[in-house]
């Protein structure tokens, strides 16, 4: 019927390519019994040894923990921890002893552990000025630090370092001695390198710190630049969870088994007001860090579950092999119109 001569139309036929025809070569794995069992076995084979490895590493770590916040409270102040700690007249010195259960090879790390302390509270985390910490030119960059931004509300007297984090600096001190010999506590390199080198300026000095009407935590040596105040730097790396440890220092000598360590604590830091706990922790390290049984157990559990499932599936296929292509398993095969 197409009698009139028409210009030959350009063919609209789609061009062939494996991509447009959705025929790209593809790997199409499916969950065959083989794959299921193989995966379970593979995970079990990887996880169980890994778990054992972690556990053994954790086993090798020697850790001594001593809670001292309540122990260092004189009986007369029991239940009145806050007035004890706030009073200027009370003797905060407290002596604790601990026994080394196993040989601890150097370096031995000393931590303080705070519990129920919300360093991750939004108000707390935000209350700092990284610019000010890094650069003396930004000394008045204290916007985020309220209420610990300026001394007596005077904008020309910025507090360095400003903010709640610095203000609440932990200030208990420990002196450890073995027998009569005081152990040398190395407080160098307890902070992250990136912090001491970059984030905290070597030409930024504390100023107006803890001079306000409310005194928070520890004070700082105004003659030392911030980059050298590693206690502050460690403290200012806020913890993720309300129970945390922070590095206090390192002892570079071995502690033998059954040795008694005497610790003289200056119990200055107020955890009584908010019901926190304080502990001192001595620990050696392994390749996964500190003592960490949970990690190994978690590996073992997952590996165990996988092994268990693998065995189950193997038994299942041996006892009750699925008939090949049995359509009765299909829910709708019984009624083809699908009603």
């Amino acid at each position: 019927m197409d009698a009139l001569p028409r210009p030959k139309l350009k063919s609209k036929k789609p061009k062939y390519s494996r991509f447009t025809q959705q025929e790209l070569p593809a790997w199409k794995p499916i969950l065959t019994p083989g794959w299921v069992i193989a995966s379970f076995v593979a995970v079990a084979i990887l996880f169980i040894p890994a778990g054992l490895l972690c556990l053994s590493a954790s086993e090798r770590v020697v850790e001594i923990i001593d809670r001292y916040d309540d122990e260092c409270l004189p009986d007369s102040y029991s239940n009145k921890g806050d007035s004890f700690i706030q009073s200027k007249d009370t003797n905060k010195t407290c002596v604790r002893t601990m026994k080394v259960p196993k040989k601890m090879t150097a370096p031995v790390f000393i931590y303080y552990q705070l519990d129920n302390f919300y360093q991750n509270h939004r108000r707390y985390v935000k209350s700092r000025s990284d610019k000010q910490l890094r650069d003396p030119g930004f000394a008045d960059e204290t916007r985020d630090c309220k209420p610990e931004d300026n001394l007596h509300g005077d904008e020309n007297e910025p507090i360095i370092p400003c903010g709640l984090v610095a203000w609440s600096l932990f200030n208990d001190t420990y002196i450890l001695s073995k027998g009569n010999k005081v152990l040398d506590i190395n407080k160098k390199d307890i902070a992250w390198k990136s912090d001491t080198e970059i984030k905290f300026g070597s030409d930024v000095y504390p100023k107006n710190f803890q001079k306000g009407e409310l005194i928070g935590g520890g004070e700082l040596d105004e003659t030392k630049p911030l980059s050298e105040q590693e206690d502050l730097i460690v403290w200012m790396r806020t913890a993720a969870l309300p129970n945390f440890r922070k590095l206090y220092g390192k002892i570079n000598s071995d502690l033998e088994a059954n040795e008694t360590i005497t610790i003289v604590i200056q119990n200055n830091y107020n955890t009584y007001e908010f019901g926190g706990e304080k502990r001192i922790v001595l620990s050696t390290m392994s390749w996964i860090g500190g003592k960490n049984d949970f990690f190994g157990i978690a590996f073992l559990t997952i590996g165990g579950i996988c092994l268990f499932m693998a065995i189950n599936f193997i038994l299942l296929y041996v006892c009750k092999p699925r008939p090949l292509g049995d359509p009765s398993y299909l829910s709708w095969n019984r009624n083809p119109s699908g009603q």
């Binding site: 019927m1 447009t20 070569p25 993720a240 019901g275 860090g289 500190g290 978690a298």
Partner: protein
């Protein structure tokens, strides 16, 4: 070219023009009234009145936006979505201290998402704009300063005179003034308007046709009064005032924009409608926007997530309020390090309720990651890409018509995978709509040997071996392909009968009637002959394929129609081997319409006899036959029934000699009706024609076959295997419909038929009484009874596997669709596997569609090709248009356009299934990944006394949805396949996964959400418990806020991406690239971000390089957490594939076990070998245990 012969003919009297002779005394109907107020001053641009009218220019813009309103308008579109409004509000609030993160980190993802959507809108609009610019700058010759000079389309104004050359498009709606032919006719192709490829004839008025050269327009002035712009392509009311003459205009003088001048040198025209006032622009409406069921359900899920968000924020703020309250205890402050004595309202222990409320707002922002911000934009992008795949599918490209499949909307891709019921048109959809003349009955004798496909199916059904299967079937297929085995096959003609072919008809007993019969076929039509100059062959341009087949049949039997002028039709008639040219003077033509169902011409033959020649549907023709002596009426009826049974379309042929006086009287009346300019003109014309089309003498009947399209039976069978129910809505008679049903596998052997009809003796008895109410009442009762019977039949055989088919005719349908019967009708119908509605009108088609859609609440798909299917296509959940012979109207109203019915199989079973699966999985996964991430924030909050401190660095979070997890999920949405296309087609039952919606049902959605929750818990609690106190490195450093964030976030990224890898089972390089690339990118980002200045990177400063990467603990935690988060899903899948496999699992298993021969290249050999080896070994190992 074939138009040379027109050139010298100056027709004094043009038959169709005679209908529109000027009649100044005539009242011009509604011209000048409301709706008919347009006045056009032709060639009179300086006329102040014309100036005042300020009609629109011919500038056309189809864009959605302009440069000015793009930003506000597209933003407005964006923020109509609830989720986006939420994010906008969050972005605004983020500038206040309430915000848990920096404003920029909230704004960034929002900007990316909004920007991506706007860019998409912008690109789409830019394409439209480019087309507009092209159209607006086309050249046209406009009369100016005494000559026609070239100008741009957009500069055209109403009233301008234009000259359009051959094969040019008309720039606006024009009034045809004259053409290069002296008689002022021209041929127009309207393909762009209605898709019809045949040429249409237009006539200018005599008075203007004489304006033959450019100079004659110098003094030309005319005024046109006409209707206001409207979208009706098929009517035009107006009048032309020229030389003090009032002429009434009709569509015959109007050339519509975007149609094309054909076969002519040039025409002159006056611009009447410009730009957006033109009919074609008025018609340009967007297809109705439909939303898929999945998207509707997705909205519900978003609401669930919003309520989760609100409730966890609420819970959080209660805890926060309580804790804050405790900070002030009998005058002493608890957490002194927060300095509660000097605090802001946010944390004020003196006003804990206010603090809690403000915290609630913070929480709404903080947990906002539960709402997947990029979900909408990802889905939109995915769907566009999916549509490209549909458009690009070679297997849905039709060579003969050069048409690929086209997804006109991308909204409904996944809906294609859920179709429960298909409602199909018959003609042109199941059939080719190319008619072949196969049989005829003349004077009560049936001519035409050969069997149709339907007859073959019929014979097969009756277990009768068809007598001459060999020859007939090959004949049929041969003629279809264009090469017959008996010499040259002619398209549209498949008639074999030696009794009347090759001039043998002269020896038949009723040779005079045979002669008259074929003369009617050769004269009573609107076709235009066309001689191929080179071959001398004659072909015809006809308005419908039926008509063409008649003219061709007449030609083949020796009545060759070779010339049509305005007043005559000329035939070569073979009489006993001699060719005689006979010319018939054409006096009137009463055209075909779907309401009239017949057409007539009145001619005067060489012997000065007046004849009315008529052809029409049997339902209207038999009642118009003359009452006395119709000797062949019964036989003819008999034959017509037989033809109908054979699935053929029949027309009754009749004639009537007229006497001069009667004709003269009638013509006057008819003319008056024709020239009246009012809306009821059509009714007047109908009434007039009734008066002459009576007392006809029966000659016989024709039967043309509408062939089934290729592959239709196979396709329908496949679709029924896929559990899709099929309804055919056709205008055919019941017998025809049933037989077609058998031919196309809709009805199969052993199916029980429930027939609902009103053709019973008692009903016809009541009908004779002519009491409308009684008829209605009786019909209603009868239908009710038949439905009840059908119901009981269905109930009786419920347990057995007998399939039922419901067949209902149009009249019964009218009653069955009434309110009180609708539900029982539907109940019967949905229990039948196929339903045929015969004799149904377009409106009924739409009503049935609506009933099925609303009654079953399942997805319906309507497929059709003609204008009469438009209602149905728009009503259905998905409209599929067949871009076939009947024009583009169905396609314009459709959501998907395919060239052949058989492509529906691939569109549904392959693309539909894939798209459904992809979108369903994609949405589920989206919720998984966002819940998995969002809840880790919540768990962290619980350990930060709900203070609103996020667990991660701001930028980690804002990149989560944008970079680290977005691309794999898009790859899933675009490329994932559960099984290959071949297997989709091989196992059509797989389609039921979509129909039953088992990949997106509530248990599955909630399951994924639960999995997300579980993942978040595993991630958080393993990370927390393994890092709580102790050092994580050999050098004694402990995990702080920054490091825990990195550890957890790393776990999240690994977990969600690996979860993706676990839940898909189709990995091309694209999937590998995106999944592993996303994980890799996280590390790259972390390193780069960590090296920014500390002011920028804050808590991420060197955290990876210095702190995490050197620690074996960090890597092992990742490993442990990822394995643990994947374990629940893996276990679930392992048990599920073992005990309750889904169908696609089963097919995949078969494929991998080699029950299916692997396609070459389907599996890389190495992998396959490995897998086989592994599975073999496994089998052995546990057999030995």
């Amino acid at each position: 070219m074939a138009f040379g012969r027109h050139e010298r003919v100056q027709f004094s009297k043009i038959y169709s023009l005679s209908c529109f002779r000027p009649s100044t005394s005539e009242e011009h109907g509604q011209i000048g009234q409301k709706g008919y107020s347009r006045v056009v001053y032709c060639n009179d641009a300086d006329n102040p009145e014309a100036f005042q009218l300020r009609y629109r220019s011919n500038y056309v813009s189809t864009t959605k936006y302009t440069a000015v309103n793009f930003i506000p308008k597209s933003l407005f579109e964006q923020f109509r979505r609830v989720a986006n409004i939420y994010f906008l509000v969050v972005a605004f609030v983020s500038f206040s201290p309430l915000a848990p993160f920096r404003a920029s980190s909230i704004l960034f993802p929002l900007l990316v998402v909004i920007g991506a959507t706007m860019a998409k809108e912008g690109v789409e609009d830019w394409r439209r704009r480019k087309q507009d610019i092209k159209a607006n700058n086309r050249k046209i010759h406009v009369y100016k300063d005494r000559s026609f000079s070239e100008s741009k389309w957009k500069d055209l104004r109403v009233g301008d005179l234009v000259k359009v050359y051959k094969d040019e498009y008309f720039p606006a709606d024009l009034l045809l003034l004259s053409s290069s032919y002296p008689d002022g006719i021209c041929y127009v192709e309207t393909m762009n308007l209605d898709g019809e490829t045949n040429l249409k004839l237009k006539h200018a008025f005599d008075v203007t046709a004489s304006l033959q050269d450019d100079n004659s327009f110098h003094k030309f002035k005319a005024v046109v009064k006409c209707e206001d712009p409207n979208e009706d392509l098929y009517s035009f009311v107006g009048s032309l005032c020229y030389n003090d003459q009032q002429l009434s205009l009709s569509l015959q003088q109007i050339l519509l924009r975007d149609s094309k001048l054909r076969n002519m040198e040039y025409i002159y025209g006056a611009v009447i409608f410009t730009g957006h006032d033109t009919k074609v622009m008025q018609n340009a409406t967007d297809p109705p926007s439909k939303r898929s069921k999945i998207e509707k359900r997705m909205d519900k899920i978003i609401y669930i997530l919003f309520s989760t968000l609100i409730s966890i924020s609420f819970i959080g703020s209660i805890f926060f309020g309580l804790r804050t309250n405790r900070d002030l205890n009998h005058g002493s402050y608890g957490r002194w390090y927060l300095e509660p004595s000097r605090t802001t309202a946010l944390y004020d222990p003196k006003r804990p309720v206010l603090a809690a409320f403000l915290h609630f707002l913070t929480g709404l922002m903080l947990y906002g990651y539960l709402i997947p911000i990029s979900l909408y934009v990802s889905i939109e992008m995915v769907k566009v890409l999916q549509s490209i795949f549909i458009n690009q599918d070679q297997d849905m490209y039709h060579d003969e018509t050069n048409r690929p499949a086209r997804a006109r909307t991308s909204n409904l891709n996944e809906e294609l995978g859920q179709v429960d019921t298909i409602l199909s048109d018959k003609t042109g959809t199941l059939t080719c709509n190319s008619m072949e003349f196969v049989k005829c009955s003349i004077a009560g004798v049936a001519y035409g040997r050969g069997m149709t496909e339907v007859e073959l199916a019929l014979a097969r059904r009756k277990n009768v071996e068809p007598l001459d299967v060999g020859t007939t079937s090959s004949n049929i297929s041969g003629s279809h392909g264009g090469i017959g085995n008996s010499g040259k096959a002619i398209k549209g003609f498949n008639f074999r009968d030696e009794r009347i072919m090759d001039g043998e008809w002269a020896n038949e007993p009723h040779s005079d009637i045979i002669q008259k019969f074929f003369r009617v076929l050769a004269i009573c039509h609107t076709a235009i002959p066309d001689v191929n100059k080179h071959t001398g062959e004659l072909s015809y341009e006809a308005e419908s394929p039926d008509e063409a087949s008649f003219v061709i049949a007449a030609r083949e039997l020796g009545f060759e129609f070779f010339e049509r002028t305005q007043t005559s039709i000329s035939l070569h008639e073979c009489e006993s081997g001699v060719k005689i040219d006979r010319s018939y003077e054409l006096l009137n033509m009463i055209e075909f319409s779907s309401a009239r169902k017949r057409m007539s011409v009145i001619v005067r033959n060489a012997d000065n006899q007046l004849l009315l020649l008529c052809k029409g549907a049997d339902s209207v023709m038999f009642e118009r036959l003359s009452k006395d002596s119709q000797p062949y009426e019964d036989q003819t009826k008999n034959h017509i029934n037989k033809y109908a049974e054979a699935g053929l379309r029949t027309l009754v042929i009749a004639y009537r000699p007229l006497d001069e006086d009667e004709y003269m009287a009638w013509e006057k009346e008819f003319l008056k009706a024709k020239t009246s300019v009012s809306v009821d003109r059509d009714d007047l014309v109908d009434a007039a024609s009734e008066k002459i089309e009576k007392d006809l003498i029966l000659l016989g009947a024709t039967a043309v076959e509408d062939k089934l399209q290729k592959g239709v039976p196979e396709c329908i069978e496949k679709l029924s295997h896929a559990g899709i129910k099929m309804w055919v809505l056709t205008g055919d008679k019941m017998e025809t419909a049933i037989n077609i049903g058998y031919a196309c596998s809709l009805l199969v052997q052993g199916m029980k038929q429930i027939v609902i009809t009103l053709d019973s003796p008692d009903i016809s008895a009541i009908e004779k009484l002519n009491d409308r109410e009684a008829i209605a009442k009786a019909s209603r009762e009868s239908i009710e009874k038949q439905l009840r019977e059908g119901r009981s039949q269905l109930d009786l055989t419920k347990s057995s596997s007998v399939l039922f088919a419901l067949i209902i005719d149009g009249r019964s349908l009218t009653y069955a669709l009434e309110k009180n019967l609708e539900s029982s009708f539907l109940e019967v119908a949905i229990d039948c596997s196929s339903v045929i509605c015969c004799r149904s009108s377009p409106k009924q088609k739409a009503l049935v569609t609506k009933m099925v859609k609303e009654g079953t609440r399942k997805t319906t798909l309507a497929i059709g090709d003609g204008a009469n299917d438009v209602g149905m296509l728009q009503e259905a959940d998905i409209g599929v248009g067949i871009s076939g012979a009947e024009g583009m109207q169905a396609v314009m109203a459709s959501d998907f356009a395919i060239a052949q019915f058989r492509f529906l199989e691939r569109l549904l079973l392959v693309h539909g299934h894939w798209c459904y699966r992809r979108i369903a999985m994609m949405i589920c996964y989206f919720f998984y990944k966002n819940i998995g991430f969002g809840f880790t924030l919540f768990w962290f909050e619980a350990h930060a006394s709900f203070s609103g401190q996020p667990a991660y660095n701001d930028w980690y979070m804002s990149f989560y949805n944008v970079f680290f997890t977005s691309l794999p999920v898009i790859a899933l949405g675009v490329f994932d396949q559960d099984v290959s296309a071949r297997l989709c087609l091989k196992y059509p039952l797989l389609y039921q996964e979509g129909v039953q919606n088992i990949l997106f049902n509530w248990p599955r959605i909630l399951g994924w959400m639960f999995n997300g929750l579980l993942s978040s818990m595993i991630i958080f609690f393993i990370c927390k418990n393994s890092t709580i106190h102790q050092a994580f490195r050999e050098d004694g450093h402990v995990v702080d806020y920054e490091i825990l964030g990195v550890i957890m976030y790393t776990c999240v990224i690994w977990a969600v991406n690996c979860q993706m890898a676990l839940s898909i089972n189709y990995f091309t390089w694209i999937q590998h690239f995106f999944i592993w690339g996303s994980i890799f990118f996280w590390y790259v980002f972390l390193v780069l971000y960590g090296y920014l200045k500390p002011e920028w990177s804050t808590t991420a400063y060197r955290v990876f390089v210095d702190a995490c990467a050197p620690s074996p603990f960090y890597w092992m935690t990742t490993f442990l957490v990822v394995a643990s988060t994947l374990l629940p899903y893996f276990l679930y899948r392992a048990f599920q594939t073992r005990f309750h496999p889904m169908y696609h699992d089963e097919i995949q298993r078969r494929r991998s076990e080699g029950c299916e021969l692997a396609e070459p290249g389907e599996l890389p050999g190495r992998v396959k070998d490995k897998m086989d080896h592994l599975s073999e070994r496994m089998k052995h190992s546990y057999r030995e245990m």
